[in-house]
């Protein structure tokens, strides 16, 4: 049960990363690998500030802003210097590896003994449930985990709704249209380059927020923690699309959050059944590959007709 609870919490925290990937990959049609660097950047900024006893909420916010800045740099390299979007992301991701090591001063910062959002929610849990453990559908779970889950269940939907609301404003609408038809957006007087920079900043801000929260939940920040995270995000987005479809923005956002949680649960179960953790990234990559290829493949099969040319 503790295992499932942990998977749920991490799934919810990583759903913010998945929402970031949704913004770059689906709304702007740019697979943005800056993600791998900015999740670590968010985690390292937050961890270093927490070790120095900064208020956890402020530390988390600072981590998110760091990610937003990294995304903006990718956007500027892509739009102002006309470098291919994938390459721009690779450049920033690579540079961030050094930046993160500098921020942390070493490759790993443990948060033992620091006051974090996780320790705060533990205290909150103990006072709320009045003890170290609490009954949960007949299971006994630690009140720390229960409180963490409760808070994630409140915070993540609020973040999703805020994102939805933003994309329904004039600015947000013009950003969505930028991914849809940049020529039209230009003809209607919006600045396509600025929209792309803002979009990548928003995307990586969400990713780094996810990283800052993850570091606090797992109790450390690590230089390697970002590797392959974009593929995790893609997998969540794709599962979400299978769950809710893509008919409306709201459904897509809900689907992405659900996709992240479901994916994390599936992984936890697979690991429990003896999946070698070393194979995890290989399997995730294969899954995303299959999900990207199969829809087009089925289309082609359907369209192929026995005609003579």
């Amino acid at each position: 049960m503790t295992l499932l609870l942990g998977a749920l919490i991490i799934g919810l925290i990583l759903s913010l990363l998945a929402l970031g990937v949704l913004v770059s990959f689906r709304i702007f049609s740019m697979p943005d690998i800056t993600t791998d660097g900015s999740i670590t950047l968010g985690a390292s900024i937050a961890a270093v500030l927490l070790v120095n006893e900064v208020n956890p909420a402020l530390a988390t916010l600072a981590g998110a802003l760091g990610g937003a800045a990294a995304g903006a740099v990718t956007g500027i390299i892509h739009t102002k210097f006309k470098i291919n979007s994938l390459l721009s992301g690779i450049l920033v991701m690579t540079a961030l590896y050094s930046v993160n090591l500098h921020v942390m001063g070493r490759s790993n910062v443990p948060l033992l003994g620091s006051s974090t959002l996780a320790t705060r929610s533990e205290e909150f849990g103990r006072s709320l449930f009045g003890g170290e453990s609490v009954g949960f559908f007949g299971w006994s779970v630690s009140s720390a985990d229960a409180a963490m889950l409760l808070l994630s269940l409140i915070f993540v939907p609020i973040a999703g709704m805020a994102l939805y609301a933003f994309f329904r404003t004039h600015l947000g609408t013009s950003m969505r249209a930028t991914g849809d038809n940049p020529q039209m957006v230009r003809a209607l007087g919006a600045n396509v380059e600025r929209n792309i920079i803002l979009g990548l900043a928003l995307s990586n801000g969400l990713v780094a927020l996810s990283g800052a929260l993850l570091a606090q939940y797992q109790g450390f920040a690590d230089a390697q923690m970002g590797i392959g995270m974009i593929v995790w995000g893609l997998a969540s987005v794709i599962i979400g699309e299978a769950l809710t479809g893509t008919r409306s923005l709201g459904l897509t956002i809900i689907g992405t959050i659900m996709g992240s949680v479901l994916f994390r649960l599936l992984v936890a179960i697979a690991l429990r059944w003896g999946l070698n953790p070393n194979d995890l990234k290989l399997i995730t990559a294969l899954f995303v590959f299959a999900a990207l290829v199969f829809p087009g493949f089925l289309e082609r099969l359907k369209r192929r007709r026995p005609t003579v040319s």
């Binding site: 404003t169 003809a187 007087g189």
Partner: protein, 270 residues
């Protein structure tokens, strides 16, 4: 309203693909004038409109719209003065977004886009009425993705979007060329209505002699990146399709002459 003086544009200069698309165009269009642009394929009509809209910067010359020198303005900034409809029905709308959202985008042309709601009753109510007046049955489909509509419907909506806020200059580049004859007629009628009602200063590119004689108050004919003929006033009123065809024939004859002269010179000297 629009003054273009001595603009030149060469694509891929200094390579074997060099194209001198505009070779010194001078043009002044008075406020409220509706100008038809004719010319053979590759004569530079689209390049002229793109140069005015700011899709690229010209190599030489000056462009003024509504008294402002916009030569160095980027495209999105010029859009505050310009409404545009493209030839391709896919170019003018954001396909996955709803009809209402597309108009929300158009309703902020030239304005700051802030954090207020894109869809407000202040927009959707007049929008419903305006779209109902098209008699295409689209007023109840404002929440449908605009990509699900036919090309003709999309061009009609793009025209309404381009003129939702009155533009100082309206640019139409063969905006009915991709439509079936019936839809093309509908969109042309709608264009003429909107242009007359709002007295819009308009540049419209077409290949239809019929449209050239029946619409607008001035015809310019382009050839090889220059304005070759400029027909206005009483002469435009009297204009018949045959007159325009004669002028095209004349261009064609001159072209052949040029070619045979080049062949002769080539034989003699090379």
């Amino acid at each position: 309203m629009l003054t273009v003086s001595g603009i030149r544009k060469t694509f891929h200069p200094g390579t074997i693909n060099e194209v001198r698309a505009l070779q010194g165009v001078d043009l002044t269009i008075e406020e409220g004038s509706f100008v038809i642009v004719l010319g053979m394929n590759g004569s530079g009509k689209s390049t002229l409109l793109n140069a005015v809209a700011g899709s690229f910067f010209v190599d030489e010359g000056k462009i003024e719209i509504a008294g402002r020198n916009v030569t160095a303005w980027p495209e999105h900034r010029r859009a505050s003065l310009i409404g545009r409809v493209f030839q391709n029905p896919f170019s003018g709308t954001a396909p996955t977004m709803s009809i209402a959202e597309n108009f929300a985008l158009a309703s902020r042309r030239g304005h700051v886009r802030g954090l207020s709601w894109a869809l407000s009753p202040g927009l959707t109510r007049p929008l419903r009425d305006r779209i109902a007046s098209l008699k295409m049955g689209l007023e109840d489909r404002l929440d449908n993705a605009i990509g699900s509509l036919s090309g003709g419907q999309r061009q009609a909506l793009t025209l309404l979007m381009a003129t939702w806020l009155k533009p100082d200059l309206l640019l139409l580049d063969e905006h009915t060329a991709a439509l079936d004859p019936k839809s093309a007629d509908q969109v042309i009628t709608l264009s003429d209505e909107v242009i007359q009602r709002d007295k819009l200063t308009t540049l419209m590119v077409t290949h239809s002699m019929q449209q050239a004689v029946s619409l607008g108050d001035r015809v310019i004919m382009m050839h090889r990146g220059r304005v070759l003929h400029d027909i206005r006033g009483a002469e435009k009123q009297r204009l018949r399709p045959e007159d325009l065809l004669d002028r095209f024939d004349e261009i064609r004859r001159r072209e052949q002459l040029d070619e045979s002269a080049a062949a002769m010179l080539g034989d003699l000297y090379i």
